[in-house]
């Protein structure tokens, strides 16, 4: 467990450093301004990963991480204003770019399988993604309008 935690920290910090620099180049946020927010995010992740190991229920760690993130940033939570202020400096897109850079490298391994897909599979796969996206958007639009939110 301790060894696990140590390695999570190392990997999250490596990732955090890369994203902090991306955040600087892409969004003009100097690293000094982004570091407190990045540390908060890393601590939220660690808390979620550790809780997932401690609680013997099969719930994915991202669920705990999301809940912790929501709770500590709710106005009622002590210090939440600071947490929100700091994490605002870390742009979502700056976190997404390194994820997809690693993903691009990793999906090379699926390329041989991908090449074997026939054209019909590709056509259907495109409509599968389009179908869920447009289907969900239409329902959301109808309900949000009925509620008067948009």
């Amino acid at each position: 467990m301790l060894k696990n935690i140590q390695e999570w920290i190392l990997i999250l910090v490596i990732f955090g450093v890369i994203a902090t620099f991306g955040n600087w180049v892409g969004f003009d946020v100097v690293p000094v301004a982004a570091i407190p927010g990045m540390l908060v995010l890393i601590l939220i992740c660690l808390a979620g990963l550790i809780i997932q190991k401690l609680i013997p229920v099969n719930i994915p760690s991202v669920a705990y991480i999301a809940i912790i993130g929501i709770v500590v940033s709710m106005p009622a939570f002590p210090g939440s204003a600071k947490i929100v202020e700091w994490t605002t400096q870390v742009n979502l897109l700056a976190l997404a770019t390194p994820i997809l850079a690693y993903a691009g490298i990793a999906i090379g391994r699926s390329w041989t399988d991908f090449k074997k897909l026939g054209w019909r599979s590709l056509v259907v796969a495109v409509f599968v993604l389009l179908g869920t996206f447009i289907g969900s958007a239409i329902i959301a639009e109808i309900v949000l309008r009925m509620q008067g939110i948009i």
Binding site: E7, F15, P60, I70, V72, V84, A96, S121, T132, A137
Partner: protein, 270 residues
């Protein structure tokens, strides 16, 4: 697991390469161009995924590095989720107010069946089409299909095909179409934000990122709705498939294939 992770953080070459990709792509920045009335947004994350994939085929990246990249994606997504959490927190009231829309749009995932299954059957695919179109085919659904139909079944071949497509091109595809459709159609960006949460971290990031780039003044609302919807999809998606999606797909497949066979028979007769 521990031994693997040790090799992962020690793979400095991999991290250095990603560092360079990130600096380069963020430096290039966001580019937009119009296609008819819609706008296509090119985001740094889209260049990053394509550069990463391209490098895989050069000696710069070895098989080992490609493997080591996988846990980085998983932990990177946890950071993304933490960030989404702290965006949802302050606007939790607003999310709860939009609760009915959030819950009901989960049924939109069934749109894939109504939309894609007829096309699959029309293209002449057999029972593969059940695996292909019953859901967006992320990991839990691959598990469901293998569990139900067996590893060597046609259904499993189908679900794997869509899974592989989603793995390789899902994020790029969602990133390109979400900004485009949101600028092209009269639907509200927040509706598309909810639709972005289809149960895959990278696809959600690409789809909602593209929306944020197109509608910067709605940034926090877009991320909060997309994130909340993605969490719902992750927690309800599998049950939706087990109880509604898969039975519906099988029923509809039987109807469609009967219609197709009948048509084929008539055509031959004529």
């Amino acid at each position: 697991m521990t031994e693997d992770l040790k090799n992962v953080w020690k793979d400095w070459r991999l991290h250095a390469i990603v560092f360079v990709i990130v600096l380069l792509t963020e430096f290039i920045g966001i580019h937009k161009f119009s296609v008819g009335p819609g706008i296509i947004l090119l985001l740094p994350m889209l260049y990053a995924i394509l550069i990463g994939l391209g490098l895989y085929f050069t000696p710069i990246i070895s098989e080992k590095q490609a493997k080591n990249a996988e846990p980085l994606i998983v932990l990177g997504v946890t950071l993304l989720i933490a960030k989404i959490g702290v965006i949802i927190g302050p606007s939790l009231e607003q999310i709860i107010a939009a609760g009915p829309a959030l819950l009901l749009q989960e049924f939109g995932n069934l749109g894939t069946i109504l939309f894609a299954l007829p096309i699959a059957v029309f293209l002449g695919l057999k029972r593969e089409s059940i695996g292909m179109t019953h859901s967006v085919a992320r990991e839990p659904n691959v598990g469901l299909i293998i569990d139900k139909f067996g590893f060597n079944s046609a259904e499993t071949r189908g679900v794997m095909a869509v899974y592989i497509f989603g793995t390789v091109f899902g994020a790029v595809f969602m990133g390109l179409i979400s900004g485009f459709l949101a600028t092209l159609t009269p639907l509200h960006p927040l509706s598309f934000a909810m639709a972005s949460g289809i149960g895959s971290g990278s696809m959600m990031a690409a789809a909602s990122g593209s929306l944020v780039a197109a509608f910067p003044h709605l940034e926090n609302d877009i991320i909060a709705f997309a994130g909340a919807s993605n969490l719902l999809s992750l927690s309800t998606g599998l049950y939706m498939s087990i109880f509604i999606g898969l039975p519906l797909t099988e029923k509809l497949y039987n109807v469609l294939s009967r219609v197709k066979d009948k048509n084929a028979a008539t055509n031959k007769g004529a």
